[in-house]
């Protein structure tokens, strides 16, 4: 089962994402802050990280930079999630190392597409020779 790590300080958002992505066949691990997220990521090696940018203390931008500086974690795609919709927020998230960006309130169909795209791309980049053998087939992913 594909494992996602969601780092978010708001409990209701953790419940929402866990249930909605759980319904789509993903295993969702959650962490309440960046420190806990870092520990969980090292222990659980998730396939993708969903990062709330408005975390207390270490915010999502700083946390993402730390993930991307860690050789054991830097290959894991990170999607920034934020209720901020200011012009330039997306660029700011990408500059911090995020691979994609989405806004709250969540639109789950859109979020699922972004997750699937990144997972497929990450799988191809990690196993390019197998990809060529298989005719660039995308990996099996849960049903939306």
């Amino acid at each position: 089962m594909i494992k996602l790590l969601y780092i978010e300080d708001t409990e209701n958002n953790r419940i929402l994402i866990t249930r909605r992505l759980g319904q789509s066949g993903y295993q969702v691990l959650t962490a309440e802050n960046a420190e806990q997220g870092m520990v969980m990521a090292r222990a659980e090696k998730p396939d993708l990280i969903l990062m709330d940018m408005g975390l207390p203390e270490v915010d999502g931008w700083s946390a993402t930079r730390r993930f991307k500086e860690d050789p054991t974690l830097k290959h894991i795609p990170v999607i920034a999630l934020t209720a901020h919709v200011m012009h330039g927020d997306r660029e700011k998230a990408i500059a911090a190392g995020c691979d994609d960006y989405d806004t709250k309130p969540f639109q789950f169909a859109r979020l699922l597409t972004k997750i699937e795209t990144l997972l497929a791309g990450n799988e191809r980049s990690r196993h390019p020779s197998e990809d060529a053998k298989n005719g660039a087939a995308t990996p099996k992913s849960p049903q939306p």
């Binding site: 708001t10 929402l16 408005g54 209720a83 901020h84 919709v85 200011m86 012009h87 309130p105 789950f108």
Partner: protein
């Protein structure tokens, strides 16, 4: 992130606040107001997706009304509190606050009615989700008053008849 009280004080004198700072405060208010709305919308979607097509009509209608109203509030907030546009005037903000108070009040009434029905039917999981939605709506009610406190007070009275806050 809470706005710095010094900035709030300065904001009451718009000349003392740089346009960049005002933009930041408006962006923060938009962010803070969208968060609880996201929770209400998300739980509505989950509950609606779990309902059987031909039963629990009242619940479906109630949830759909809450969803539609919350969605409209998100659109209105995005329209009025777009940090990339010219800032709304204090009068527009007072009017927005009045509208939001009224609509969030209606959302709360609907959620509480559904909660009461769910409690009578002893549906614990549904009750728990409705309780989360109710908490988010109450949080939103508070934020309508506090998240925009950096705006100068307007002489306008809100559409609910309450004095401008």
């Amino acid at each position: 992130m809470k706005p710095d009280p010094a900035d709030l004080q300065k904001a009451r004198n718009p000349d003392a606040l740089s346009s960049e700072k005002l933009k930041e405060l408006i962006g923060q208010a938009q962010h803070d107001l969208r968060n609880p709305l996201g929770n209400i919308l998300g739980f509505c979607e989950i509950l609606l997706s779990q309902l059987q097509p031909d039963c629990e009509k009242e619940l479906r209608v109630g949830l759909q009304a809450i969803y539609d109203s919350s969605h409209k509030i998100v659109n209105d907030i995005d329209w009025s509190l777009d940090p990339d546009k010219s800032p709304a005037s204090p009068e527009e903000i007072t009017s927005l606050q009045g509208e939001l108070r009224q609509r969030v009040g209606q959302i709360l009434v609907r959620i509480d009615a559904l909660r009461s029905d769910a409690a009578k039917r002893e549906e614990a999981l549904l009750s728990a989700d409705l309780c989360r939605m109710s908490d988010s709506a109450r949080r939103l009610s508070q934020l309508i008053e506090t998240a925009l406190a950096f705006y100068p007070k307007s002489e306008l009275r809100s559409s609910t008849g309450a004095p401008a806050t």
